[in-house]
């Protein structure tokens, strides 16, 4: 995956795109180091600046000196020194803060895996605290946990860099001034707080799909950042199957990315997708994660959606899909999330299982979808297959009146044109 180089001002021409595994691993390790420093210095802001210093130093040094035996240890020590330097330079009050923070947290000589794990969890729960708004939670997670720069995040969400910087400053100011705690929530709150973290990751993942038509070459891949965070949380809280379910959903969905649009960027229906382009390793991993999660209790909506995505992903062809299973899964999902979107998807699956008329009848009973272009597109497709071409044309025209995005609009227009030919 190409991404803008870290610290472009020092390391290359601004905006230069290079594939750099070293930068990538330093960036990922940065989140762990940041988590530890935030605990030790009691300030997310200071920790962030110090980690940035250490990352820049590593990227200057390592290409010549080679990667040290313990890169995380090297980064932590360098960042800690950088933080002390910054405190010394700024004021004496900071030193008191450091002392206070050290008093609150007993010093630990050895950085065991479990200490790092707890620090990362603290950072995750702080960045995804419900008293911050969702946009701020998403931005902060990308900045601190994924190590993206402010300009990368701004580009990903297509907002001016100053807007994103302001959002991050505001969030960090609130964390500091309102005393948002840096700790793992107690057991009785954990379920709800994990759910909040997962919704941040899910928002990030769906955002990646909505903005996939963006032609900005400097965009980072938000879907991959969301999957990275999903892996992080799944690894840190293995006892909560909800995280594994979401990770499975994201992996199985992302596995089909290469075939979802054609070379012109136009949408391709799942039935017409080239299944050789699917990432079958990712689908198998999703299936494995899902099966483990399902052993731990009744499925939640993430797991049901992941299951649907896995059934599609494991099917050899569109016709060879287990539509019975898919309809059953949509039925269970509808019990938990009785939304029009779920109902429309269920009706489309029902058409495959019981025939186009059954699907069409199910579609006609759904309410509140008159302004959703994909509802009319689904109706149009079933009319077309039943040979009711004028109804199909009417439904495509309705769909085009619902303000579909540019990519969906091109798809709908092509379908409509093929009916008129």
């Amino acid at each position: 995956m190409a991404r803008p180089h870290r610290g472009t001002a020092r390391l290359g021409h601004p905006g230069e795109l290079i594939r750099d595994d070293l930068a990538e691993s330093v960036r990922r390790e940065g989140g762990r180091v940041l988590a530890t420093l935030t605990r030790q210095f009691g300030s997310l802001d200071l920790a962030e600046e110090a980690v940035q210093d250490a990352v820049v130093r590593a990227l200057e040094k390592w290409p010549d000196s080679g990667v040290p035996a313990n890169p995380a240890g090297w980064l932590t020590t360098t960042a800690k020194n950088a933080a002390r330097d910054r405190l010394r330079r700024s004021n004496k009050r900071g030193f008191k803060e450091e002392e206070a923070a050290t008093m609150l947290m007993p010093p630990r000589a050895v950085h065991t895996e479990s200490v790092v794990r707890d620090d990362l969890l603290r950072l995750i729960f702080t960045c995804c605290h419900p008293s911050l708004n969702l946009d701020a939670q998403v931005a902060l997670s990308l900045r601190t946990l994924c190590g993206l720069t402010t300009s990368e995040i701004a580009a990903a969400f297509m907002v001016p860099e100053s807007t994103m910087a302001q959002r991050l400053v505001r969030a960090k100011r609130k964390i500091a001034i309102a005393h948002i705690p840096y700790r793992v929530p107690p057991d009785e709150e954990l379920g709800e707080r994990v759910a909040a973290v997962l919704s941040v990751i899910y928002v990030l993942f769906t955002e990646a799909h909505h903005s996939s038509s963006s032609e900005n070459p400097y965009r980072v891949d938000l879907a991959e950042e969301a999957i990275y965070l999903g892996r992080l949380v799944t690894g840190l809280i293995p006892e909560k199957p909800a995280a594994a379910g979401l990770l499975a959903l994201m992996l199985a969905t992302h596995a089909r990315r290469a075939s979802r649009v054609d070379e012109r960027g136009d949408l391709v229906l799942m039935a017409d997708q080239n299944r050789d382009l699917w990432d079958h390793d990712a689908i198998s991993e999703a299936d494995r994660l899902l099966n483990q999660a399902l052993l731990m209790g009744a499925p939640d909506p993430y797991q049901l959606q992941a299951a649907i995505s896995c059934v599609h992903g494991l099917a050899p062809t569109a016709e060879g899909t287990d539509w019975q299973e898919i309809v059953l899964l949509y039925d269970r999902l509808y019990e938990m999330q009785p939304t029009a979107v779920v109902a429309v998807n269920r009706a489309v699956a029902l058409a495959e299982l019981e025939g186009d008329e059954a699907g069409q009848m199910a579609l006609e009973t759904i309410e509140g979808v008159e302004h959703w272009h994909l509802y009319h597109a689904a109706r149009a497709e079933l009319f077309r297959r039943m040979g009711s071409l004028s109804e199909a044309r009417g439904a495509y025209e309705r769909a085009l009146m619902c303000n579909p995005g540019p990519s969906d609009a091109r798809f709908l227009e092509a379908r409509l044109a093929s009916l008129q030919a």
Binding site: A178, H179, I180
Partner: protein, 120 residues
Amino acid sequence: MPKYAALIYGEAVADWEPSPEEMAETMAAYNEFQEWAGERISASEALQAPETATTIHVEGGKGGKLVTTDGPFAETKEVLGGFYIYEASDLDDAVKTASQIPGAWQGRIEVRPVWDIPES
């Protein structure tokens, strides 16, 4: 004697960037007022900017579902009906305490950090 609350409105703290002189002037003016009013004042605090606020609501009565939103209370239909100043170890603790106030299920409660003005 009847008691009154004087609710002070003005530019948000975050947007207010006074010079040291302006700051000293303002502090002196407030100190002058407080000395003048003396023991008639039973409690006073300066508040942090509204953007550090968290608004909560408890759905379905005491012990119900706690809903937390970022930012100050913004509805115009409901009005300020009273306040408590209380201590809490952090924002989670402060929210938990506020969620026990009847106003949390009868209306909304804005939890705003008090500005710890450094002694100079």
